[in-house]
Amino acid sequence: MEIKDSYELPLPKERVWAALNDEQFLKKSIPWCEKLERRSETELAAEVKLKIGPMSTRFTGNITLSDIDPPNGYTITGSGKGGIAGAASGSARVKLIEDKDTLSTTLSYEVSAQVKGKIAQLGSRLIQSTAKKLSKNFFGSFVKQLEDMDKS
């Protein structure tokens, strides 16, 4: 399952990169994120309450940053356990490409997701759509926050 998309931001790459490493930014971007705490340079502890239709489950887990290549991108991986619901993980390869002329940056991502246990067994029809939706929510609100900040 591969999900790709990209956004254009009227901001220099360094600004976007800084935001990608700012946990406050990340927390606001992660859909239904209830808790995010930095554990180390590359690791954050997270708690997310995921609601899909009638289902509502709390996932606890980690967000790790890897393949870090400042300021060009990284891989951000979230993996969490949802108790009886099973477990889910998603990994996004994020790339920043700056257009020197317009001083804008293209943020592109490629997501792969994996689910385990009950959510895989009972919700297979929804996995792809949900992964797409969550990635869109995450990057969409990340980009929106940046834009809003830029405006204000």
Binding site: G86, K116, K118, A120, Q121, L122, S124
Partner: protein
């Protein structure tokens, strides 16, 4: 002729006597039974497919409300309880034997499929057990899962004892002669086919209720089993090392098995073990998700086929190379199904002078694969009948005629195949002819043309199958690697008033034994069927027997009953001779009466029964009182039902939907005891075959997660997926059992998938489509049509 015999006897479509309770919801299944002080078990299962267990922390669960015990593999290891066993192994090409890795009752060190049991929580209620299980923390070190069984040899090793993830590499037949035939053939037809993976979906999920009696140190287990005596044997001898007499196994009403309830599962054993540990009765019942995850699945099997033809289109050789998926652990019949029950059937209804097959059984991180309705024979029939149809098309012959010229001729029986079996009897052209007549084969092209006018593609396809059921004789079974005998037992007890209790070692989980077996006894003794009661499923009541699978119940179990009744009649004649003051040789038994030949002196069966139990006027010096006989019947051969099924379909090219519009099934089951029950078995079998061919597909993703674990995604056949079946029969009575019967339980599921897929391909043949894998889902068919159109456009 006696009225009663006419109504109830062999050959009558008597309504099933057991149905009243089932249809009114009064069946008594394992989960309906409750014992005082009973507690509930819940299994915590792995949600990863392949991992080392780093640690299991059960502390929080131990002290959760209602919990009476939490156990893991370590506890099982301490008590040295053995695991489930494989009931049949085969030799490998390199001279080694099947690799049999251990299968602990609860995971020890490693988990090997999603659903593998890691711990069991026993609590006052199921809800408490479930809640406590959520508090168990298992730390896994995940390993790469092996899901693709065809390439499993290149995957991470699942068991230390199984190098290259290959349980066995087996062969049968003459490789040299077969390869030579392929070399000198005028034409070699090649085909690769796959049998999709199926979930058995018995209506009743598995369940177990175990109770330990500390006074006489014995256990009672109620369980969902097709073979309670084998369950007792495995539990007593291989797992717990206790005398059989200390364990009573009862399989009460069982709601379907289809092969998935042959195996003795870890849950039953854990309940037995925990019942003593805790000192209270322990019950476990699977929910539907657990059934999907942990019931043994069926099929999952690929074949490369080469069929060699001479210049007259006669088959001169057949080579089949097979790889099959056996899953994470071996189970009862997982090894015999793709080997003995598949390889030996490769001659089908055809006279094939050279056959060779090689089968590799692979381990993967998926649940075990075991017998499923047909077990091996559907796989053999599918590859053969798909190849026959393809060959006919390739050589430009009508598929029926191509089959006809290759049939084993009627006068060639008994016929020795090149793959070990000897068919005692058969006659294949009549059922081919009759099936063609039933479906109006000769006018098919008119119907195709009419459908085309409506924009529909219509196709016809057939399958002439052979089935071998009633595995036998024991000596041969043993020589082939079987670890049990394959006889069946019966005990017939005549009660003082002349009513009869029949105790069978066979087991009914939907087949209608209570009716069919009673009919046999009623017919032979000339008494009303209501006077006959059939008792099965309780090791304390019935003689040791093998249970029901492989369409063996009537051919083996029914024959044992027949033998026991013969003994009753013989003894009764002696009693009658005494009472009638005649010589035993002069006594005729007819219509329930013992008559002195040529006189009107007679005694009714009931009078004999009474005399046996009230022996006031009785030859006690030469004859024991009482009237009760046992028989253990070991058949001298398999029975070989055969038949031809023809399917007709219409395909909507806009959606890819395949509609089964007509179906003709003409089967040779030998003599029919209850034609209505037989027809029901045929219907059910075809429905399951249509399910396999069009709808059902168990799908694991690349991580070993089962994505089709509910009816949202696993597609079962429904009534409106099926046409009204035309069912007919021919009859060549079995030569080696008294009743002349064969088996009918699996034939429908064996015959139907290739007939249907052949019909689908035939329908699409105007588009140039030559292959279609199962299940032929709307999307797949639509895609094939699209691709053929884009090829045509190029």
């Amino acid at each position: 002729m006696n009225e009663v015999t006419k109504i109830d006897g062999i050959g009558s479509s008597v309504r099933r006597t057991e149905d009243k309770k089932f249809l009114t919801g009064k069946g008594r299944y394992t989960d309906d039974i409750n014992r005082p002080g009973q507690v509930q078990a819940y299994f915590l299962r792995s949600d990863v497919a392949h991992a080392e267990i780093k640690s299991i922390d059960t502390k929080a669960a131990q002290s959760a409300p209602g919990v009476v015990g939490v156990f893991t593999g370590a506890d099982i290891a301490v008590d040295k309880v053995g695991g489930p066993i494989c009931g049949w192994v085969v030799p490998c090409r390199d001279g080694s034997s099947t690799k049999e890795p251990p299968h602990p009752l609860l995971a020890q060190g490693k988990v090997r499929f999603v659903g593998d049991a890691v711990a069991v929580v026993v609590a006052e209620t199921m809800e408490q057990a479930k809640s406590a299980a959520e508090l168990i923390d298992v730390d896994y070190n995940e390993l790469t899962p092996v899901v693709d069984f065809v390439n499993a040899d290149k995957g991470a090793q699942i068991h230390e004892e199984v190098p290259n993830n290959c349980y066995f590499d087996w062969e049968l037949g003459d490789e040299g002669a077969t390869n030579k035939a392929i070399e000198r053939a005028a034409k070699v037809v090649k085909l690769s086919v796959r049998n999709n993976r199926l979930v058995p979906n018995a209506m009743e999920p598995r369940s177990a209720l175990a109770e330990y009696d500390s006074l006489d140190e014995s256990y009672t287990l109620h369980t969902t089993s097709q073979n309670p005596h084998l369950t007792r044997l495995v539990l007593a001898a291989f797992m717990f090392a206790i005398p059989e007499s200390k364990l009573r196994v009862i399989a009460p009403d069982v709601g379907g098995g289809f092969g998935s309830k042959i195996y003795v599962y870890i849950e039953e054993a854990v309940c037995v073990w925990a019942s003593k540990k805790i000192g209270r009765p322990v019950k476990w019942t699977a929910d539907r998700t657990q059934a999907f995850l942990t019931d043994c699945h069926g099929r999952d099997h690929v074949n490369d086929v080469q069929l060699a033809l001479d210049e007259n289109n006669k088959i001169i050789g057949l080579r089949v190379d097979t790889v099959c998926n056996l899953g994470a652990y071996l189970s009862a019949f997982s090894v015999v199904v793709p080997t003995i029950l598949h390889g030996t059937l490769l001659s089908g209804q055809y006279d094939i002078p050279a056959i060779y097959t090689n089968v590799k059984g692979m381990a993967t991180n998926t649940v075990n694969v075991d017998a499923y309705r047909g077990a091996g024979r559907p796989e053999a029939t599918y590859l053969l009948e798909r190849t026959m149809e393809t060959a006919a098309k390739e050589v430009g012959m009508d598929p029926a005629e191509f089959r006809r010229i290759n049939f084993i001729p009627k006068d060639a029986f008994p016929y020795q195949t090149q793959v070990a079996l000897q068919y005692d009897i058969g006659d294949y052209e009549p059922h081919l002819d009759k099936a063609m007549e039933m479906i109006d084969y000769s006018n098919f092209e008119k119907r195709r043309a009419e459908a085309a006018k409506r924009g529909m593609y219509r196709g016809i396809g057939m399958s002439s199958y052979i089935e071998a059921c009633g595995l036998a004789p024991s000596a041969v079974v043993g020589a082939l690697g079987g670890r049990v005998g394959q006889w069946e037992s019966a005990s017939v007890r005549v009660n003082p008033t002349g009513t009869i209790s029949v105790f069978t070692g066979s087991h009914s989980h939907g087949q209608g034994h209570a009716t069919t077996f009673a009919q046999i006894v009623a017919d032979k003794l000339g008494i009303p069927m209501e006077n006959v009661e059939v008792i099965h499923g309780d090791t304390d009541k019935t003689p040791f027997g093998m249970g029901s699978y492989g369409s063996r119940s009537l051919a083996s179990g029914g024959s044992a009953i027949s033998k026991a009744v013969d003994k009753i009649i013989n003894k009764s004649k002696k009693i009658a001779a005494h009472l009638l003051e005649a010589s035993e040789d002069d006594i005729d038994f007819k219509d329930g009466k013992f008559v002195v030949g040529g006189t009107d002196k007679e005694k009714a069966f009931g009078e004999i029964a009474l005399a046996a139990y009230v022996p006031h006027n009785y030859p006690l010096e030469t004859l024991e009182p009482g009237l009760e006989e046992n028989a253990f019947y070991d058949p001298t051969n398999f029975v070989f039902p055969s038949g031809t099924h023809i399917a007709e379909v219409e395909i909507d090219p806009a959606t890819g939907v395949v509609e089964v519009v007509d179906w003709a099934a003409c089967d040779d089951f030998g003599n029919l005891v209850n034609p209505m029950i037989v027809e029901g078995q045929v219907h059910g079998g075809i429905a399951q075959g249509i399910g396999q061919a069009l709808l059902e597909d168990a799908h694991y993703d690349e991580n070993g997660q089962l994505l089709t674990a509910s009816y949202m995604d696993y597609c079962m056949p429904r009534a409106d997926d099926l046409p009204s079946f035309k069912v007919g029969y021919t009859n060549t009575p079995c030569t080696h059992n008294d009743l002349g019967v064969k088996g009918c339980g699996e034939a429908g599921a064996i015959a139907s998938p290739p007939a249907l897929i052949n019909a689908v391909i035939d329908a699409l043949s105007p588009l140039g489509v030559t292959d279609m894998s199962m299940p032929a889902t709307p999307q797949k068919v639509w895609k094939a049509i699209q691709e053929s159109q884009s090829v045509a456009a190029e």
